[in-house]
Subunit: 411 residues, 2 copies
């Protein structure tokens, strides 16, 4: 048995973020290691949901577009998200889903590099990212193609026939994290436009879009940003590209003057051009309130606590002998996001058995137990308990119970 | 002065839908003639909003995808909407916005008529419908084109080079209503696929998609379906086309097996293929509950009451001398949807002055005062009061007050 250097209690006591958990409405007797899939409910979001439904929709009805400024909500929320990903104002807007935003950006980017016909991405990118490229190519025809590169050494695989390099910063399975700054710089030396998917980045650690000179980015808001199930996504278009940027999902809300009802589309020369249909006011309002949990908290502090939680998990796991049962398939802590992947042939059933013990993580096919570390509400005591429960499950092979083997939809 | 045949009270007393208003949470001292823009809050939606936020998201967290069946919500809500627009099960799915759904269907439809290169629509269609075609054409290139036809006599303008005919059933300004059955039949004799936008139809009157042999349809849910601000839209793909249908916004939720995370997109051969990103669970749940106001109410009864309300408005307006001030620019009652358009150069200010008196309608540039009749919660007494207030405003020229002339965003 390895001795502990610090107890969970000691670590919690000196955690500068320990009070932030109070901003969330968390269920009792639960350790939630799945905030990287669906963040929990912030109390402010709970209050706002009631306010927007009962008072804004219920009482002020259509007048709310003006009196509650619904009309500017996508920009307002966009700027709030921007502040969390190193984007100056006027470059992020909240709308639609990651998938749809990828389609917009990819189409626009290809137009900006008319002589190039290749979209490059990693084979192990999140499937929807790849599927959206495939869908776009089905419209554009054989002239265009997708090129798969290895995620391990992106820079060396860049060539000057690539129009857009589309990368997810953190691999959804392993947690492997790209060096945004180095990759973007190298891409730019070849004239390649970069599009970063921040699904597992935004709200989890420091992202510096402006400083890294990123061209475009997209991300979702229901993971580390705690916006609620299916909350709207966001898209970033660097200021320098906004004049030239033209995306084809040209709905009325991206028009220069949506309420003039002019016969021809005229794009706004701003990130707002990404707006398409009527904004999802209800869920966007909830998200707007949810973002208040980040007030007076720095991403740096979040990142530091995440690393400590992960190190503590690893140390406790070692003490409990977890390494005898499962393999860590994530890279070293400095090269991964705020998550950890353990592999086991029975990962699905293990995940179910863990849930039955009150510890919620998730499963990624075919054999990954994925653990998210969301430092805003996770304590060291939570991690200690989670390890204890997992070790019990592995030791007693509880997961072999057929109840846990029965497959359900998993997200 | 013309005598009344029936008083508002008499008409309300014998209205078979008079109790349905109780299913809504309506603000006091308000006559809401804008349910064709944003429907009011159903009490069931209010309850569900709390339930989905506090219990499903807050307590059951990620497990809700299974235990509250979030994963099947788009189909479940789709089928409920289907029942209101004459669509058998498995042909409607709830997702995204009208604009985005138009893009999907138009792209898919063009692929189904590879030898044809024309999309036909009316010049006075709702702008976003036209803008989406323009956006699609910007991707497809010069080979394809949009052709504008006159809404008055669509059938005579159909030719066999048209791939898709995209029509909004009810004109958003005038309320002019197309004959869906006749137009679709004539289009089919020329091999043209039909795409109907039901923005101002769904929930307002009887729509028979299957019976009219419509090919595709889209619609929003925040107007007559009372789904809340920015609630997700729907799309209909007739069963007979689902095998061939391929739309390019091929996100993971439209994949045959979204959680297998396979490298290549494989489309579901069903209407579900229109799913793209993660569904907007929060607002879709609220919409799901909102649809319960239609239980034990027929669209026929809604339509009949709408016509009576409109006739009563016209009769009362005549009695009050409104015709001296404003012109009706809608077609006769049998050729329009559940709305009425009055024109006046100061329509914007008149609308504002009416709102100040507690009567909410809306303005459509440049000169239309648009009045929606939503029979589920509107009484004849409401209509009587609305006319009275409008007549006062016109007589006293209250709208000339600069407070009412000051423009705001309008939706």
């Amino acid at each position: 048995m390895i001795n502990k250097v610090f107890s969970a209690k000691q670590l919690d006591d000196k955690d500068p973020l320990r009070h932030v958990a109070e901003r969330f409405s968390l269920p009792p007797n639960t350790v939630y290691l799945d905030g990287n899939s669906l963040g929990p409910l912030p109390k402010a979001a709970q209050t706002r949901a009631q306010e927007v439904v009962n008072n804004q929709w219920g009482t002020d009805l259509i007048k709310s577009w003006n009196c509650h400024d619904w009309i500017n909500l996508p920009q307002k929320v966009g700027d709030k998200i921007g502040a969390l990903i190193g984007a100056g104002k006027g470059q992020v807007v909240c709308c639609d889903s990651i998938s749809i935003n990828l389609f917009k950006v990819l189409s626009a980017a290809l137009k900006m590099r008319p002589e190039r016909k290749v979209i490059a991405t990693t084979r192990d990118n999140f499937p929807t990212d790849i599927y959206m490229v495939q869908g776009l190519l089905s419209l554009l025809g054989d002239e265009y193609s997708i090129r798969y590169i290895d995620e391990a050494d992106v820079e060396s695989q860049l060539t000057d026939d690539i129009a857009v390099l589309m990368l997810t910063q953190v691999n959804f399975r392993s947690g492997f994290k790209q060096n945004m700054e180095a990759v973007t710089r190298q891409a730019h030396t070849m004239g390649i436009l970069t599009l970063w998917d921040l699904a597992h980045s935004a709200g989890a650690f420091v992202v510096e879009l402006d400083e890294c000179q990123v061209d475009f980015a997209v991300g979702c808001t229901y993971k580390y940003l705690n916006g609620g199930p299916g909350s709207p996504a966001f898209v970033y278009v660097a200021k320098r590209h906004q004049e030239e940027y033209r995306q084809p999902l040209s709905g009325w809300m991206g028009h220069k003057s949506p309420f003039a009802f002019t016969p021809d589309y005229e794009a706004q020369n701003s990130v707002n051009q990404n707006l398409c249909g009527t904004p999802a006011i209800l869920s966007m309002s909830v998200l707007d309130a949810a973002l208040s949990v980040f007030e007076s908290v720095t991403l740096k502090a979040i990142d530091e606590k995440s690393k400590k939680l992960q190190a503590f998990f690893a140390a406790e796991g070692k003490r409990a002998g977890l390494c005898d049962y499962m393999e860590i398939v994530s890279p070293a802590i400095e090269n991964r996001g705020s998550q950890l992947a353990l592999s086991h042939p029975d990962a699905y059933a293990i995940c179910q058995a863990w849930i039955a013990e009150g510890v919620i993580a998730d499963f990624r096919a075919p054999n990954i137990l994925r653990i998210g570390f969301a430092p805003l509400y996770l304590s060291f005591a939570d991690v200690e308990l989670a390890v204890l429960k997992l070790a019990e499950i592995m030791r007693n092979k509880t997961y072999e119970n057929e109840v846990f083997q029965r497959k359900q939809h998993v997200t």
